[in-house]
């Protein structure tokens, strides 16, 4: 993290087309451009199927753009991007390995010795409040605990970019709030750039410095909002009641609603329901 440019993500005019099994070309995202500064927390919201996960895949280097470039730290992404960690909705834990071994996997993949990896894993498990659970297996943990393990596993390699694809999407409201607070706490310590995908606008506004709203498919950037709520933000449950939060939330929702309704009308083919899609 010596270089200040290290974690900057620049997405420039990226288009991604897929070949459908029927042989037609399907444009998932079109001409998407936005930048995430080093240490910035950027949330991406948009209707389902608009290409959020696709965008993330191209930043990580798992996938390549059809047009345009993705740069990380000034370098065009080509192959797996260095210094990136991923966190998915489903926690990617190996069921036959203990919690400790799962967390230690990251450093081991990076070439650390087993003893060193385990020592670091122990330290990270302590930081996420799971001391004493090292020898359990993932299926012996609650959903929230598994999320903590996944978080430790994502952060142990000290990534300069953390990518999260609806990481808390499967959690209940309370656990989600707790996990969000913990994520903010851990993020403040090492300050990686974060690309955070969510369907929950409240979550996006409460956590992020910047919210990117995408249009329904083919996905493009509809608007970018800077969230000027001061940090540290404290508890995400409380911040929801602040006037500035509500103002921003309404503003973004006005932009997003149209897209969500359009996407809904397209997928369901039914009447458009009023109300807030979370």
């Amino acid at each position: 993290m010596a270089d200040a440019n290290n974690g900057r993500i620049e997405i420039e005019g990226v288009t991604k087309r897929f070949l459908t099994p029927g042989g037609e070309v399907f444009t998932a995202i079109k001409d998407v451009s936005f930048t995430v500064e080093p240490g910035q927390f950027c949330a991406v919201v948009g209707p389902t199927g608009c290409g959020k996960s696709t965008t993330l895949g191209m930043v990580s280097g798992l996938d390549r753009p059809s047009e345009g470039t993705v740069k990380v730290g000034g370098k065009v992404v080509d192959g797996i991007t260095d210094g990136v960690s991923f966190m998915f909705q489903a926690d990617a834990l190996l069921p036959w390995k203990t919690v400790l071994a799962n967390v230690a996997l990251g450093p081991i993949f990076k070439g650390a010795s087993k003893a060193e990896a385990q020592a670091r894993a122990r330290d990270w498990l302590r930081r996420v409040g799971l001391t004493g659970f090292e020898d359990r297996y993932p299926h012996q943990l609650s959903g929230g605990m598994r999320k903590r393990v996944a978080m430790a596993a994502a952060l142990i390699n000290e990534p300069k970019i953390l990518m999260m694809d609806e990481p808390f999407g499967a959690l209940d409201v309370q656990t989600k709030a707790i996990m969000s607070n913990e994520l903010l706490g851990l993020w403040e310590q090492s300050r990686p750039a974060v690309l955070f995908i969510t369907h929950d606008l409240d979550e996006a506004v409460a956590l992020a410095d910047k919210v990117v709203v995408m249009t329904s498919s083919p996905g493009t950037v509809k608007a970018v909002y800077d969230i000027d709520l001061p940090r540290p933000r404290g508890s995400v449950q409380e911040i929801r009641f602040e006037p500035r939060f509500l103002e921003l939330q309404h503003q973004i929702w006005d932009t997003l609603r149209e897209e969500v309704e359009r996407a809904y009308a397209r997928t369901a083919g039914g009447p458009v329901t009023e109300g807030k899609a979370a």
Binding site: S60, T81, S85, A92, P95, F109, H139
Partner: protein, 319 residues
């Protein structure tokens, strides 16, 4: 035979407990059909029991009375097994023992090679996108229809003469007789299409998140294959291992063709075939030999079966 009924019974169990019961399933789970299945199982098992009992009875008894007479005059001996395994005394040559060793030396590598190669191929075809991967997979799939008999003669020529372009050797002659290599290679080749097809279908279904998380963490493809894909694919690997082991163990055609029946390398079925020719009326010898060849696949089957319980994935991806 006993093997077959056992696998069938295993397979029908999930159907009986499945929550969605269609008409056919309901009919299959009625008490009447349970009785019918039991009956069929008994009818299928009785000859196997007869085989076992005959192989344990003394020579004179076998010659004079049927095996069921054992229940009236229980008199058992292991002499037949000793004869058939170790005694060279019945005219042809040595006992079965060297052939048993050959069979193991052929079957174990001929099971491991295709699994290793096919699981790697399946991972590459399923998880590494490159131009033409679909075509390659389709060719593998299509090769399954080629009957192996068609390839016997060209393969024999390849093994005995090698393959050359001009003076350049692209495949060395391995030489026939006295070597296991031709049988290993032949069995591996014949197994590949089905193995790649089966394992690809399983490996392609593994959760994308697990594999991508490891990739992003910096694991190489080989690393992902070894520490994520292989453990997850254990049920499929075990199923195919059993299938391939049984096929190679019971195979006569490939074994006989590529060893020429030489005692240094021929597998047990070729010897059993000879025995039944020269000892057609010595049932006690034949049944003992047959039983030896049944026992080993049984051991393999029961030691591997716990691996193909599909419990391993439970809890890996939730929500």
């Amino acid at each position: 035979m006993a093997m077959l009924t056992r696998t069938e019974r295993k397979r029908s169990e999930p159907a009986r407990t499945a929550p969605t019961r269609t008409g056919v399933r309901r009919a299959l789970s009625s008490p009447l059909s349970t009785v019918a299945v039991l009956l069929v199982t008994v009818v299928w098992t009785v000859p196997s029991l007869g085989l076992l009992v005959t192989s344990l009875r003394p020579e004179q008894d076998v010659a004079q009375t049927g095996w069921w007479d054992f229940f009236a005059h229980p008199h058992l001996t292991l002499a037949n097994y000793h004869d058939v395994l170790f005694n060279g005394g019945f005219g042809v040559s040595d006992g079965l023992m060297p052939y048993l060793v050959n069979s193991l030396a052929i079957t174990v590598p001929a099971t491991i090679f295709p699994i290793v190669l096919a699981s790697m191929a399946a991972y590459v075809l399923a998880w590494i996108p490159f131009k033409g991967s679909d075509t390659i997979f389709f060719v593998f799939f299509a090769l399954q229809v080629v009957p192996l008999q068609m390839a016997l003669v060209p393969l024999l020529q390849l093994f005995s003469g090698g393959a050359h372009i001009g003076s350049l050797t692209i495949f060395p002659a391995v030489g026939m007789g006295g070597s296991y290599a031709p049988v290993w290679i032949a069995h591996t080749m014949f197994a590949m299409p089905l193995a790649v097809f089966l394992l690809h279908n399983f490996i392609a279904q593994l959760p994308r998140d697990l594999i991508e998380a490891a990739r992003v963490d910096g694991a190489s493809h080989f690393r992902v294959f070894r520490s994520v894909v292989l453990p997850l694919a254990t049920p499929a690997l075990a199923s195919f291992a059993i299938f391939q082991f049984l096929w190679v163990w019971n195979d006569l055609l490939v074994g006989l063709t590529f060893t020429g029946g030489a005692p240094e390398s021929a597998p047990m079925p070729s010897r059993l075939a000879q025995l039944s020719g020269s000892f057609g009326d010595h049932w006690e010898i034949l049944t003992a030999g047959a039983f030896v060849s049944v026992v080993i696949p049984l051991v393999v089957f029961f030691s591997l079966q716990r691996y193909f319980v599909r419990g391993l994935l439970a809890g890996s991806v939730k929500g």
